[in-house]
Symmetry: C2
Subunit: 645 residues, 2 copies
């Protein structure tokens, strides 16, 4: 097989941007050891040095408007950021904080004066900044933040204040050591009235690095991973900033203390502001998927070299990758990595369509909400996938996988928090499900259970209508796909795309309808709204997950269908089948419970997954080579022993 | 509920030994921060200092014969070792290497002269030693080690040699910095004939710490975790030791170069020698289970304090632990931790029965083989459980869980290798399954696939007989337990012990019979033995796992039945039901596929697991308090915020 052809297809439209970052990583491969050899503060400073380096290379400004030194290439920017995950992940996260979150907040929440004053410096890395949203007391529930920004008309200033210990800003990247300014999310209080969470630019350090009066910064100390990022805590004691520090694209305060916003509903205003920051979730998901590629490259190459046990009397022991269990553990994860790669590419294309182009575009609100759900879902699956995959890769490499020199340790430790940051995965899946249930339409309910439950009750009639339509779909499927009368040939049609898509779609729609029914029944019975929601929280999350599984599967299928004919498409089709059937196999209990699979057909699927693993196995090394991870990131001693003797 | 009563019941017969270690950990709590504040070498030296301290406290010699300074209390020794897992895990592992593996090899594989010369010093920590078994090229397949020990009759010496790079000893604890002697496993060559792997004592450092001539030691460098243990690599270049260096309990070489052993079959000799080292696996499993207790204590206390979201209009947000998803994620793991605790207690009791008492006992070989399988199985489940539980606890504590100060990071990193060391888990499960298939009886097949396959073919007739018996059992179960005709009341009997036990036993026996049938069919068809085995490797592993699941469930049930009446037994019964039903739920696809569950009953089980979570929830904090983890290990800033402000 031509690895080049497959790699080009994977790299897609942003190949050039990816290659720039690959070259940079290859050139500065020494950073990969920095976390092992330097003290924590030295490591942080080294990461900062590398950040300035990649900034000089011109990559990091790629996504910003040309007038501020950028290149207006949002897709290339995201692709390049994802590619940073092939290298040191502290560098990637620090770049994400500086260019994605901090500069992104200025770009999306600020107006011309903020852009002109700060954007060029932020993009060039001269103005290092923090994204001070999360507090000790509130992470996922951002609307309940405690920090206040109170307007003082007498001086035309906002007073930034931390009213109690739980309201201190926590886990803030760039805070402990390098940040000079923070984009602070706080409850905006004007004329005694609270208008909800808004964002303001607050200087925290002087030009020579001293923490400013009224600001207290402490270090979060060592972490499980990402120790090259200087996470810290910030407490504000009546810190004054001019009125113009408010990033005022969606809400303005004039000198007289009059608050205005074109979005009247406070919830809707809040979610609109937050929605502009979707790039963070898009980026984290992509980074997690790429970190999985690094781990799989290492573990699959190792398994294709390492021999252990095997039939006695033969000259050599057997390769690990020839064992069925080893194939079973690694190859479905390889297939899912491909699936997620294409789902991420689809997400990035949609993100570029909505946010890309010259300057800022005001895309249709409905599309934005759909994009947010897609970004949340891909982030959830991508990050859980990374945790699972890197863990299994570590175990599949035994004791050697535990040594830092073989890089799986750092991958595991550094990516672990991805499931939590940019939104906890279980919270995000509820967001996805809620989006599906309400369709958002013109109403913006809160993320809280009561709002959801009430809203859903109101929607129940419409959903009942959809259910009728759904039933027709289900009946049609039942005719097309043998499942009850499959005893004669339980294998029939198992590699048929329409079968896979029908199954995952049935699951999504059935779960969704079930959630709506349960919520409505509870509300109708007059039960406490929190209890009603809580009783079906597991169903809500399962419905969200089922939706994302379907989206990912369809993205993979679409990518196979337009892939170059020949070996590229053939290889992808095998991987797609493996992914589709492993996905169905993973939920086979549910399918059987709901009459969509017979026991015999379920067993046939398991047998076919085994066969597909064997079919993919001879190409496994080429399939990881096609990811194009730079050599330094994967040429570890256990794979290249000569480095080592 | 009385936490004290439950804690005493959990501590069982070795309460005193556990409390001694608890007190020591509380006294030396500063070690918990050593890994965060010291350089790697300083941390290693600090761990050594603590090792000498706990040795002085008298704990570490507890399991050795009184004549060498021990206390002859094997059960207390293991219980104390497990309790070390409540503290710094590097200390625990270093103690395991020194007192379990190194001193244990001398005790079990050596004879009087070795005991008299070395044992007291080893127990007192004056003679620090390594257990040099694993090589770069061979970990799980110990029989294929490359290091040689060749007898030179001219000088009455053995020559220890590393013939090629892959034969270097690797990942050896105590090697990089502190060890003075190594128990080296090597192919014994006498008079040109190889007799398989034996163990010899080889000095590697002088009294003042210099590496001896012919020995090359290198450092394995930083690891994912356990960085307080000085793992290293050892290469031998024709190193000479006297003939008496051979630990000669099971095989002797006389001055003329005559090799003798009371065990003629080399495979059987090898497995007998290895079998005496079962204590390592017993200990690792127990340590993993106790590490899970620490993580759960932290995560459940946090979830019972931390509020986020909740119904608006109410005064407070909701506690995390009141959310169904949070209960679903944590409480079945809490129940499984209890189950494993009792399974481990049962294993230790059996271990003491066979290996305990004054001096060495020669227990019945059949019992020893059964003990080895039980130890392997408990180690596998306990260590995978730890990896899964600590991961989920980390995620359940969000960003705070990622900070080193909250200890989940160290628990995760340090325990991760437990699934790999003392035998890779997937290899061990195959060992368990093989033991069940062959019953071992008088024959000792190799661990390799061919041996297994051949042996199993020979046993097929007997298994067929057993299958007939099994069918009768299955029929009987079907009558007792409603499963096909359960539509009228799918909940009936779900909390009945006999139902749980019948289900897990059916699964075990069905899987086992299936493996035997597949192996026999393949062999009968004349297929390549490796292929035959490999094709059903996933079934073999599932059968091993099903066996251990059953053993663990029955151990938990037995412990409930003899627990003190009243609140202790009531709490344990709820946890037992939760564990039993969550176990069945986890395999519900298989049960449905095999006609043991209807879809309706399967859904009823899921609903009941939810209910049981809600039933356990009010007692959750007390249930973790009963583990008796010393305060310093769990009073982390996120749980005790005042430490921190």
């Amino acid at each position: 097989m031509s690895t080049t052809g497959l790699r080009e297809y994977l790299d897609g439209p942003h190949k050039a941007a990816r290659d720039v970052v690959r070259d940079g990583l290859a050139e500065h491969a020494d950073l990969l050891n920095a976390g092992l050899t330097l003290s924590r503060d030295e490591y942080r400073d080294k990461v900062l040095e590398m950040l300035q380096q990649i900034t000089a290379d011109g990559h990091t400004g790629r996504g910003f408007p040309k007038e501020f030194g950028g290149q207006g290439d949002l897709g290339g920017f995201i692709a390049g950021f994802e590619t940073l995950a092939f290298g040191d992940l502290s560098l990637m996260v620090k770049a994400g904080v500086q260019f994605g979150l901090f500069a992104g907040a200025i770009l999306h929440l600020g107006t011309t004066r903020h852009h002109e004053e700060y954007l060029t410096d932020a993009i060039n890395g001269r103005l290092l900044g923090c994204f001070a949203m999360t507090e000790t007391g509130h992470g996922s529930n951002v609307q309940a933040l405690g920090t206040t920004a109170t307007y003082d008309a007498a001086t035309d200033e906002f007073v930034i204040h931390t009213p109690h210990p739980a309201a201190r800003k926590d886990y803030i990247g760039n805070a402990a050591r390098h940040g000079r300014m923070a984009a602070v999310f706080a409850q905006l209080v004007v004329g005694g009235q609270t208008h909800g969470v808004h964002c303001l630019l607050v200087p925290i350090r002087s030009l020579n690095g001293e923490v400013l009066p009224g600001v207290t910064v402490t270090d979060c100390g060592p972490k499980l991973g990402l120790n090259g990022v200087d996470n810290g805590r910030i407490v504000f004691d009546q810190v004054r900033v001019p009125r113009t520090a408010l990033l005022d694209r969606y809400a303005q305060v004039d000198a007289e203390g009059t608050y205005t916003s074109e979005i009247e509903n406070p919830d809707r205003r809040f979610f609109t502001m937050l929605g502009t920051l979707v790039q963070g979730r898009v980026s984290v998901g992509g980074a997690a998927i790429n970190a999985s590629k690094v781990a799989l490259t290492i573990a699959i190459r190792y398994a294709d070299q390492r021999r252990q046990f095997g039939a006695p009397g033969t000259a050599e022991e057997a390769l690990l990758l020839d064992y069925r269990m080893h194939q079973r553990r690694l190859l479905p994860l390889l297939a899912r990595t491909y699936a997620l790669h294409f789902a991420q590419a689809e997400l990035v294309a949609e993100f570029v369509r909505i946010f890309g182009g010259e300057g800022l575009s005001d895309a249709d609100e409905h599309d934005r909400r759909a994009l947010e759900a897609q970004a949340a879902g891909t982030k959830v699956l991508g990050t859980w996938h990374a945790t699972e995959t890197i863990q299994l890769c570590r175990e599949a490499c035994g004791g050697a996988g535990y040594l830092a020199e073989n890089r799986l340790a750092a991958l595991k430790a550094d990516t672990d928090v991805f499931t939590t940051f940019e939104g906890d995965n279980t919270v995000l899946l509820q967001l996805v499900a809620k989006g599906l249930l309400t369709g958002y339409r013109e109403s913006f309910g809160k993320l809280d259970p009561l709002g959801t439950a009430r809203f859903i009750a109101a929607q129940a009639v419409e959903i009942a209508v959809e259910k009728t339509a759904l039933r027709a779909v289900a009946e049609r499927l039942r005719d097309v796909v043998p499942n009850r009368n499959d005893k004669a040939d339980p294998d029939a049609g198992l590699r048929d795309d329409a079968y896979h898509c029908g199954m995952v779609r049935f699951r999504e729609e059935h779960l969704l309808a079930g959630v709506a029914r349960r919520l409505k029944a509870g509300i109708d019975a007059g039960d406490d709204a929190f209890d009603v929601f809580n009783r079906c929280q597991d169903h809500v999350i399962a419905a969200g997950r089922a939706h994302v599984d379907r989206v990912v599967l369809e993205a993979f299928l679409a990518a196979v269908q337009v892939a170059p004919e020949g070996s590229v498409r053939d290889r992808l089709k095998d991987l797609y089948d493996l992914h589709a059937l492993a996905t169905i196999e993973g939920e086979r209990a549910w399918y059987i419970e709901h009459g969509r699979l017979s026991g015999a057909r379920s067993k046939a699927i398991t047998a076919l997954v085994n066969e597909l693993c064997a079919l993919v196995r001879p190409h496994a090394t080429e399939l990881v080579d096609a990811f194009g991870v730079p050599g330094a990131a994967v040429d570890v001693p256990m794979v290249v022993p000569s480095q080592h003797e």
